[in-house]
Structures are given as structure tokens and as C-alpha cells.
């Protein structure tokens, strides 16, 4: 196994000075080159897990290993794409993309050539010298993906990268991300609350339970040999994940709204394709 997460425990102290357990005994193995998504209700600790893998945060106990090496701090082989693109507004697109390469002490010319290559891959060759504010949300997120890819990471950690984008942009970026993944064979660890997104993109969906965050079930997404999955299969998988999540959604809602609330079962809202689960 490539990325191994073992017995991770993590708790926070909230505003009322109470200890809140966020992650409770997480065990997960991710194969090299695979695309794994994590879905779960908001506040279930999925982003926290990503930060732990990124090395931005420390677990209370447990171990995370990449390629056998213990994760203790951020490393260039594990790059994060955040929900907000997080581009530096004082740097141009090119300078943003070469930021990590300069830190790697790569010669300027080489770094530039590499950045231009990656920017071409995300179709932004025209905007190399623009500043981030001149770009749309989707373009910003593309730059942010380019900035990550240029590092040639072993693992790409994505923290709800498309959730702030509109539907059309998201669909385009889904396709592009899959292309990139097939081309670069990078391992992708993808956090989302959008069930459809998880099913469409990944090979494996890890469903999280909440309060405390635990892994409820790991669901493989069946794919055909040619990489195209029939809609019926996608739908079935989606249904399955939703039914697993239902209990968790109810738990959250009851806590927030009160005991009399019941999330309707057997009712699946299909009107808006990208909307699945975003009300969680």
C-alpha cells in the first residue's frame, strides 16, 4: 500500500472549551495511482483528515505513512489543492505556478519551461502573465491545479476543489481532472460532499460517518474497461452511498434542528444533476 493511514485519533477544543472528537480510529489504505474520494456530511472531519495527510496538522495518535515514510510535516510530494484557489494576488499566473519550483531550487529557465507545459495542459497558455484577479473562478482553480501538478507530486490532495464553482465549470473541470489523472498517473485523494462528483471521478468512495468522524463504508465504483461507466451503474452507486449517508444526515439534522426532524427516505431529488448531497 502506498498511503497508509492507521488508527488516527484527533480532537479539537471548541469555543466552550469542550473536547470534541473529530476523527476516531481512521484506518485507510490507498494504492499508488488510484483515485479515492471521501464523502461525508459537513463537519465529519474529512478535511481534517486531508490536513493530517498534508502534514499541516498533527494527529493526537496514529500514523500516516506515504511510501513507508512517516508524515510529520508538509512535503512537496503531497501537494494540496484547496477549496479556494489560494493564489497569491501579488504574483502573476506564471509566478504562482513556479512558486514551488523556486523553493525546490530549480533553475529559473527550467522552472519556467515546466510551468508553461503544465499551464498548457490546463488550457491557460494565454493567461501566463495575468494576475489572479483577472481570472474567473474556474480558471483560478485550474492555476491552482497547475501549481500542484508542476511539483510532480506523488499524491494530489484535493479539498473540495470544485465546490465553489458553478455547474458548467465543474463539469468541464471533472473531465479535465480525469484526463490529467490518466496522463500523469498521480494518486488523487479527493474530499467532497458531492456524492455524484465522487462517483463520477473516483475508483473508490470512502463514506464517512460523523461525530466523531469514522469510516462507515468503502465503496468501489465499478468501471468498464474502456473507462466509461454507464449511467445506470453510476446511479446505482450514488443511491447506495446516499442510503448509507442518510443515517448520518439525520444525525446531523437532529442535532441542529431537533428530534422531530426526519429526513424523508426513498426520496431522491434528481432535478439538478450536480446538486446531489450539497444540501447535506
Amino acid at each position: 500500500m502506498y498511503l497508509t493511514i492507521e488508527k488516527i485519533q484527533k480532537s479539537f477544543v471548541n469555543d466552550r472549551k469542550e473536547n470534541v472528537k473529530v476523527l476516531d480510529g481512521i484506518n485507510l489504505n490507498v494504492k499508488k495511482g488510484s483515485f479515492v474520494s471521501i464523502v461525508g456530511p459537513s463537519g465529519c472531519g474529512k478535511s481534517t483528515l486531508l490536513y493530517l495527510v498534508a502534514g499541516l496538522d498533527k494527529a493526537d495518535s496514529g500514523e500516516i505513512r506515504v511510501n513507508g515514510d512517516l508524515v510529520t510535516k508538509p512535503g512537496r510530494e503531497r501537494v494540496v489543492v484547496f477549496q479556494e484557489a489560494g493564489l497569491f494576488p501579488w504574483l502573476t499566473v506564471l509566478e504562482n505556478v513556479t512558486y514551488g519550483l523556486n523553493l525546490k531550487k530549480m533553475p529559473k529557465e527550467e522552472a519556467k519551461a515546466k510551468a508553461l507545459d503544465v499551464l498548457k495542459m490546463v488550457h491557460l497558455s494565454k493567461y501566463v502573465n495575468s494576475y489572479p484577479h483577472e481570472l474567473s473562478g474556474g480558471m483560478k482553480q485550474r492555476v491552482s491545479i497547475a501549481r500542484a501538478l508542476v511539483m510532480e507530486p506523488d499524491i494530489l490532495l484535493m479539498d473540495e476543489p470544485f465546490s465553489a464553482l458553478d455547474e458548467q465549470t465543474r463539469m468541464v473541470l471533472h473531465k479535465e481532472l480525469l484526463d490529467i489523472w490518466r496522463k500523469t498517473k498521480v494518486t488523487i485523494f479527493f474530499i467532497t460532499h458531492n456524492i455524484r462528483e465522487a462517483v463520477l471521478l473516483s475508483e473508490e468512495v470512502v463514506v464517512f460517518a460523523t461525530r466523531p468522524g469514522r469510516i462507515k463504508e468503502i465503496i468501489p465504483v465499478p468501471t468498464m474497461k474502456d473507462g466509461v461507466t454507464p449511467d445506470s451503474v453510476t446511479l446505482n452507486t450514488e443511491q447506495r452511498i446516499l442510503s448509507i449517508l442518510q443515517e448520518e444526515i439525520e444525525k446531523v439534522l437532529k442535532e441542529e434542528i431537533g428530534d422531530d426532524y426526519s429526513f424523508k427516505t426513498d426520496h431522491l431529488h434528481r432535478g439538478d444533476s450536480g446538486d446531489m448531497g450539497s444540501h447535506i
Partner: protein
């Protein structure tokens, strides 16, 4: 008007402007450097924030001319005393602004930088400083206004050449035209620096960052 013109021509006023500008540039530069360094420590270390941070806030409320008697005792009635109050007038404001600038750097930028392996001085240079530039510029602007006032007061009392001294000279000679001329010069320089230097700096940054649209 004639006095103003003649003064500029004969070099009496020009010389004084040169002297004053030289002083303020030196004092202001020192204040910026000291302010940024103090700001860094207050931002970085909790202990410093609790101790020095409080003192700085208190010191900020002391008008810098109040330091003058003390400066005269320490350094004598000379250039150095004037430089001292010019510097001290700008330092505290600069410190306060730098601190809040550093503190307000979005967590996201810091995380991004860390993910790419930035740390230590590189982190400070490539993330913390540029991200707080807008706030630092507004700090510069206020600090400039403070040190400009301190400079005039200092020169008026301390002498050693400069516009303030010229003002005092005009008073003692009963030359009201000179006094008015110098006042006009002071106003002009103050406005030019604020409008041309700082406003432009601020606008450029805002346009580059996309906070303000190009007009």
C-alpha cells in the same frame, strides 16, 4: 509671493527644504525598519505581544514632540535630537500597522506556502510581507504624517536649519512674508508626498491585486 519666489531662488528656502527632507527621509526609513522588525516580533511571539505590544499602544498615544525635552537631555540640542523625535513619531504607528498587517495574512496563503515547503525567512519574504503590503502602505501614510509634524515641531524648537528653523527665524525678524512662505511650502510638500507618493503606491497595489478597478 515675492518672498517665496526669491527665497526659492536665492536658495534660502531651497536649502531649508533639502535639510528638512534629508532629516525626515533618514528618520522615516529608520522608523519603517524598526517598525517592521518590532511588528514581526509582536506577531511572532505571544510573550512579546503581551508585553511590548501593550507598551507600543501606550507609546503611540504620546505625541512625539513630548519626547523632545528628554531627547535634549540625552543627546543635547542638536540634529540628533530632531532625528530622534522624527523617528519615534513614526515608529509606533508603523509597528502597530505592521503587526496588524502580519496578523491579517489569510490562513489560506500561509497554508499554501507551507504545502510547497516554504518556511523561515523565505516564508516571511514571499508570503507574510507581500500579503500585508496594503496595510503597511496605509501605515506608511499615517507614519509619514506623524513624522512630518514631529519634524516641524522639532526644527522650530531645536534649530539646526530646516523649514522649522526658517519659520522661527521669520518670527524673530518679524518677517511675516517669510513665515507665510514657509507655511505654504510645508503644506505643498505634505500634500505632494501624500497624494503623489502614497496614493499612487496604494492605487498601484490595489489595481494589481484587483481590489480596485483601473479607471
Amino acid at each position: 509671493m515675492e518672498t517665496l519666489f526669491n527665497g526659492l531662488m536665492s536658495g534660502q528656502i531651497t536649502l531649508a527644504i533639502g535639510k528638512s527632507m534629508g532629516r525626515i527621509l533618514l528618520g522615516f526609513t529608520i522608523a519603517i525598519v524598526v517598525g517592521l522588525i518590532l511588528g514581526y516580533f509582536i506577531w511572532r511571539y505571544k510573550l512579546v505581544e503581551d508585553t511590548l505590544g501593550f507598551v507600543v499602544t501606550a507609546l503611540q498615544s504620546i505625541p512625539s514632540i513630548v519626547w523632545f525635552p528628554l531627547a535634549i537631555i540625552w543627546f543635547g540640542l542638536n540634529d540628533f535630537s530632531i532625528l530622534f523625535i522624527v523617528t519615534i513619531g513614526a515608529t509606533w504607528t508603523m509597528t502597530v500597522n505592521a503587526t496588524s498587517g502580519f496578523k491579517n495574512v489569510p490562513q489560506l496563503y500561509q497554508r499554501v506556502a507551507k504545502v510547497y515547503g516554504s518556511s523561515g525567512f523565505h516564508f516571511l519574504r514571499t508570503v507574510i510581507l507581500p500579503a500585508s503590503v496594503p496595510q503597511i502602505i496605509s501605515g506608511l501614510r499615517i507614519a509619514w504624517a506623524f513624522s512630518w509634524r514631529a519634524l516641524m515641531a522639532g526644527e522650530l524648537l531645536g534649530g539646526g536649519g530646516g523649514l522649522g528653523q526658517l519659520l522661527e527665524m521669520g518670527r524673530s525678524l518679524g518677517q511675516m512674508d517669510l513665515v507665510i512662505s514657509v507655511m505654504i511650502i510645508i503644506a505643498i510638500i505634505g500634500t505632494i508626498v501624500d497624494n503623489v507618493v502614497f496614493s499612487r503606491l496604494e492605487r498601484n497595489v490595489e489595481i494589481k491585486w484587483g481590489i480596485r478597478k483601473r479607471v
